[in-house]
Amino acid sequence: MKLINGFLAQVGQYTMLMGKVFSKPEKAVIYRRRIVFEMEALGLNSVGIATIISVFMGAVVTLQMSINLESPFIPQYLIGYATRETMILEFSSTVVALILAGKVGSNIASEIGTMRITEQIDALEIMGVNSAGYLILPKIVATVLFFPFLTILSIIIGTAGGYLVAMLTGIMIPDDYIQGILSDFKPYSITYSLIKMAVFAFVITSVSAYYGYYAKGNSLEVGRASTRAVVVSSIVILICNLILTQLLLI
């Protein structure tokens, strides 16, 4: 019972925080500047990690498919097809989001948490600034707009990684791989993937900001808030993934 009460209290607190975040900004031009800044800090700075994991994951998926689908009855181009579908439907949105929850989520929670315990948030409140809106809204807008680009980048880099491994290892004919990634392409899959990533971006940013915003005490608590932010946003991403797949694909 205590656990349920605690959970409901947190959901209520989160909802109220989001109410403050989405209230009318003091001055739109300042928020626009902050959105551009956050796009660079949270989005552009994540391009590297998204690229590295995508190229390796695309290569590994291609290798695994080649090994497991080795049969005279299965055409080789299906390996390229399966790699493309894996990247579009799950990897480039869900797995990349889970990795970003670790990188961006902990960054947001620790940044806002440190601001809380060093009274920087109190200072904003005293000035009459809606601190929740000023600090969190630009981050949410920046990630929701930018992370879908990371998904597109991840799809391209991942499928290129598969091609690279096909070419370098000789495990399959590269032309078959190309034929596979071009066959039976459904543009809706991309839309589905982008919608998922936009939702995940909101989850990562808002949940992490929530844990940072309500951090109390000292630097140890900021560390704990950061860990909680990553764990909870990862779980919420997985739950949202299930719900969105049911809603959008079935």
Partner: protein
């Protein structure tokens, strides 16, 4: 004038402020003194609305602050400047950006006007060349001076200072004290300083309120404090053996 009327504040069932009533006078440096944990920071944060009081009223020049809604409170808060114990400067912004932030958010001044106002405030606190520095590059005294510049940039009617001398050497403390006193006299504002530094008390304390275990125990001027016969106040003011001997308490 700022008036607290029968303020009560508790945290988790522990009463920290016990029926505190006090009036702080306009154009004077009002000091709240007391031992660590006596409730003086809670009183200060309750006065500015960072803590919601359980009961009692707070008046800003006859406006009952406690009965105001969120939006109306923001209007009062824009007339408040506050200097926090650690400075509470935004780490990711330069000195100039920190001082300019309230102007950016709440005024329609041109870039040139804002730059002139920031220059004026930084010159006023003797930091004419610190514009491009980040808080991490400043000394403790400089951080406090930037915090003062930020607090006065909007021409506040009320100035709150939470232990402005903590962590500073005696010479820098006197500089900060004098700066606050000069600004108070220059602009005719109501200044409330929370401190346990007896040098500050004797230097700038025009009205002094002594808080003991959450209650207002004594109030008077810096001249009265030396001759008071309040035992708890004397224990605080003349804490060292040497001071006790000088007062004739030993």
């Amino acid at each position: 004038m700022i008036k607290a009327d029968h303020l009560v504040k508790s945290f988790d069932g522990r009463t920290v402020l016990k029926d505190v009533s006090v009036e702080f006078e306009t154009g004077k440096t009002n000091l709240i003194i007391g031992r660590s944990g006596s409730g003086k920071t809670v009183l200060l944060k309750s006065l500015v609305g960072l803590h919601e009081v359980d009961s009692g009223d707070i008046f800003y020049d006859d406006i009952c602050y406690t009965s105001l809604g969120f939006t109306e409170r923001k209007e009062i808060r824009r007339q408040i400047g506050m200097i926090f114990q650690g400075g509470a400067l935004l780490d990711s912004s330069t000195v100039e950006e920190n001082v300019r932030l309230p102007l950016d958010l709440f005024t329609d001044q041109s870039e040139r006007e804002k730059a002139e106002r920031v220059d004026f405030c930084l010159r006023r606190v003797n930091l004419p060349d610190a514009h491009k520095l980040y808080p991490a590059e400043l000394s403790g005294g400089m951080v406090k001076r930037v915090a003062i510049a930020r607090a006065i940039v909007m021409n506040p009617r009320y100035l709150f200072c939470d232990e402005p001398n903590s962590g500073l050497d005696p010479v820098t403390s006197v500089v900060i004290d004098n700066l606050i006193r000069e600004i108070t006299e220059e602009y005719g504002i109501t200044t409330i300083i929370n401190t346990h530094d007896m040098n500050s008390v004797m230097e700038i304390g025009e009205k002094i309120v002594f808080i003991y275990e959450g209650s207002k125990w004594w109030e008077g001027t810096k001249h009265d404090i030396l001759h008071a016969d309040n035992r708890e106040l004397n224990d605080f003011v003349f804490a060292s053996a040497m001071a006790k001997r000088a007062k004739g308490l030993l």
